[in-house]
């Protein structure tokens, strides 16, 4: 019995340590935006709303958040739709060289996230007249995220029983109908996972949006966040902390929404 008690105590100590590890860094974000004269020090805030007023005065702040939402949503939708279709086909039909192809694409996707790829991507966008086009940016980012998305998505697809599809097929459903009616609902948690992953990736991406979108009215929050430095590169902590909070809120809301609605987890098959 005492072993049991010790076990419990150990468990809660562990949980406490882990919670602390994940919470302590977040304290600053919870306090600085509400402090009149924020520094890097975490202090009990005086709950001023002045910082928020200041950031709302910025002509681009709110618009950029909206742009971020557009870009992230657009990319997430494309990534999810295309990855789902591709992963489904790859999971169900054995195309020759499938695995090798996936691994190659996955490796190439790592090069494309690197800085060195900016020139090819930029010139490509120029040639395709995708400069200053949010759609173009969405397409480019989608291309970069797709391999990993397909890779993960295929795991989900592989784990759903085939009899659902066969059953629908016997009733005469077409492949697209099967995907819409049966497969998508079954792997919905997986789709949600990939969508959140894609959003998180796009949300934080600075370089590509900056290079490909000149029009400030189209730029996302990641770019606008960089403008809150001074001419000499000094952080305006007041604005940055506050904008950082506003910038984080949509992703957090989206996570909460998704986790409530779909259960945020890997491997979707609904338990039967």
């Amino acid at each position: 019995m005492t072993r049991f008690v010790l076990h419990r105590i150990g468990f809660y100590v562990l949980i406490a340590v882990l919670l602390a590890f994940f919470t302590v860094p977040l304290l600053w974000l919870a306090s600085a935006p509400f402090t009149s004269d924020p520094t890097y020090k975490v202090r009990l805030p005086d709950f001023t709303s002045e910082n928020f007023r200041a950031i709302l005065d910025n002509p681009y702040a709110l618009g950029s958040l909206w742009n971020s939402v557009l870009l992230a949503a657009g990319t997430a939708v494309l990534v999810v739709v295309f990855a789902a279709l591709a992963a489904y086909a790859l999971s169900r039909v054995h195309l020759p060289g499938r695995d090798a192809l996936l691994y190659t694409l996955l490796l190439l996707s790592s090069i494309i996230t690197g800085t060195a790829a900016m020139v090819p991507l930029f010139q490509l966008a120029v040639e395709l007249h995708l400069i200053d086009s949010q759609l173009g940016l969405i397409l480019i980012m989608t291309g970069g995220l797709l391999p990993a998305a397909i890779f993960m998505m295929k795991d989900f697809m592989d784990s759903t029983p085939k009899s659902y599809e066969e059953s629908a097929r016997v009733f005469g459903a077409s492949p697209l109908q099967i995907v819409r009616h049966v497969v998508v609902p079954l792997v919905r948690p997986g789709l949600a996972t990939i969508a959140v992953w894609a959003v998180a990736n796009v949300w934080g991406n600075f370089l590509m949006p900056y290079l490909l979108l000149s029009d400030v009215d189209k730029q996302p929050a990641a770019v606008i966040m960089y403008t809150l430095y001074t001419e000499g590169g000094q952080a305006n902590i007041k604005l940055l902390a506050t904008f950082g909070l506003l910038y984080s809120v949509p992703v957090v809301l989206m996570y909460l929404f998704v986790s409530k609605k779909y259960g945020f987890r890997f491997h979707g098959g609904i338990k039967r």
Binding site: L19, L78, V179, V199, W203
Partner: protein, 308 residues
């Protein structure tokens, strides 16, 4: 109950090909159509520029200056330069430390630990723990870097406040350790979720029969859990290693410093290509990263698939 094996010609009987036999009746053609949009985007915006990067790696292309106007192919000069540059090796070594410490060990272990202790728990505790872990994952890097600067700051850092210490500067005194811990914090969520799902696939009866035999927690992990989640471990290792190899976020925390002590390859490429404008050289280093990734991937595949 295998029956007699027929010669393969029979398989190519015309009738058998009239329509496809996969579950959804896709057939290769339609499967191709399903893959097509993704493949088109990938080819256009990933494969093509990636090959371009490989090509750039063979040139002396620069962002500005005369070499920008008329870049020339220089063969493997860039690679020779990289391989003879101690800074490159320094970065490579740091990257290994970073990937090994933060991803392969840190995120995998912490992610697994979180998934393991939360595995059959429900209720608010699980939601809070998972929520916080995932929050660390989805917050934008620009914001997160501020959080960690605030945490580790030499003067006013939360850590110093908590420890009642003065002038403790983790980012200067233990820069690599700092960014490793940072990246563990940042990325544990993915592993946690993946292993959470994987653990759901371990039949409880297997764990229980080990318990009945008197197996300790560690023995249960070794004998039951790990053999079951091998495939997930592979996927996880592969993805997080790739991502960590190319992770640029440490730059936001330490700018590669102090004195290049955290200049991992991704940061090195950034500094070389964006700050130094040496795009050709940067592309060559990217190519080398790609090759290292390839080796790592093959290594994982060998390690985890061979035992099956």
């Amino acid at each position: 109950m295998a029956q007699a094996t027929l010669p393969p010609e029979v398989l190519d009987d015309a009738k058998a090909r009239r329509y496809s036999a996969d579950a959804a009746g896709l057939g290769r053609l339609r499967a191709g159509a399903f893959v097509a949009p993704a493949l088109a985007l990938i080819s256009l915006f990933l494969v093509f520029p990636a090959l371009w990067v490989l090509y750039l790696g063979l040139s002396n292309y620069r962002l500005t200056g005369a070499a920008a106007a008329a870049p020339q192919l220089v063969g493997f000069d860039n690679f020779v330069k990289a391989l003879t540059d101690p800074e490159f090796w320094n970065s490579t070594w740091l990257t290994f430390e970073f990937v090994l410490g933060s991803a392969v060990i840190g995120q995998v272990v912490l992610g697994f630990l979180l998934a393991w202790i939360m595995r059959d728990r429900t209720g608010p505790l699980k939601r809070i723990v998972e929520g916080l872990v995932i929050l660390a994952w989805i917050l934008p890097s620009a914001v997160v870097s501020f959080l960690w600067v605030a945490l580790l700051d030499r003067d006013d850092g939360t850590l110093n406040t908590l420890l009642h210490s003065q002038d403790f500067a983790p980012l200067l005194d233990h820069p690599m350790l700092s960014i490793i811990i940072f990246n563990i914090w940042r990325g544990a969520a993915f592993s946690m979720m993946l292993y959470g799902a994987a653990l759901g696939n371990v039949p409880p009866s297997h764990l229980e029969s080990a318990r009945l035999a008197g197996a300790s927690g560690w023995q249960q992990l070794r004998d039951v859990v790990f053999p079951h989640i091998r495939g997930h471990v592979l996927t996880n290792l592969l993805l997080i290693s790739l991502w960590t190899f190319n992770d640029f976020t440490p730059f936001l925390l330490t700018a590669g410093g102090p004195d290049g002590k955290t200049e991992v390859l991704a940061v090195h490429v950034y500094q070389v290509a964006l700050q130094g404008g040496e795009l050709g050289y940067g592309a060559a280093v990217s190519t080398v990263i790609l090759l290292i990734n390839l080796v790592v991937a093959v290594f994982y595949l060998r390690l985890l698939r061979s035992k099956k």
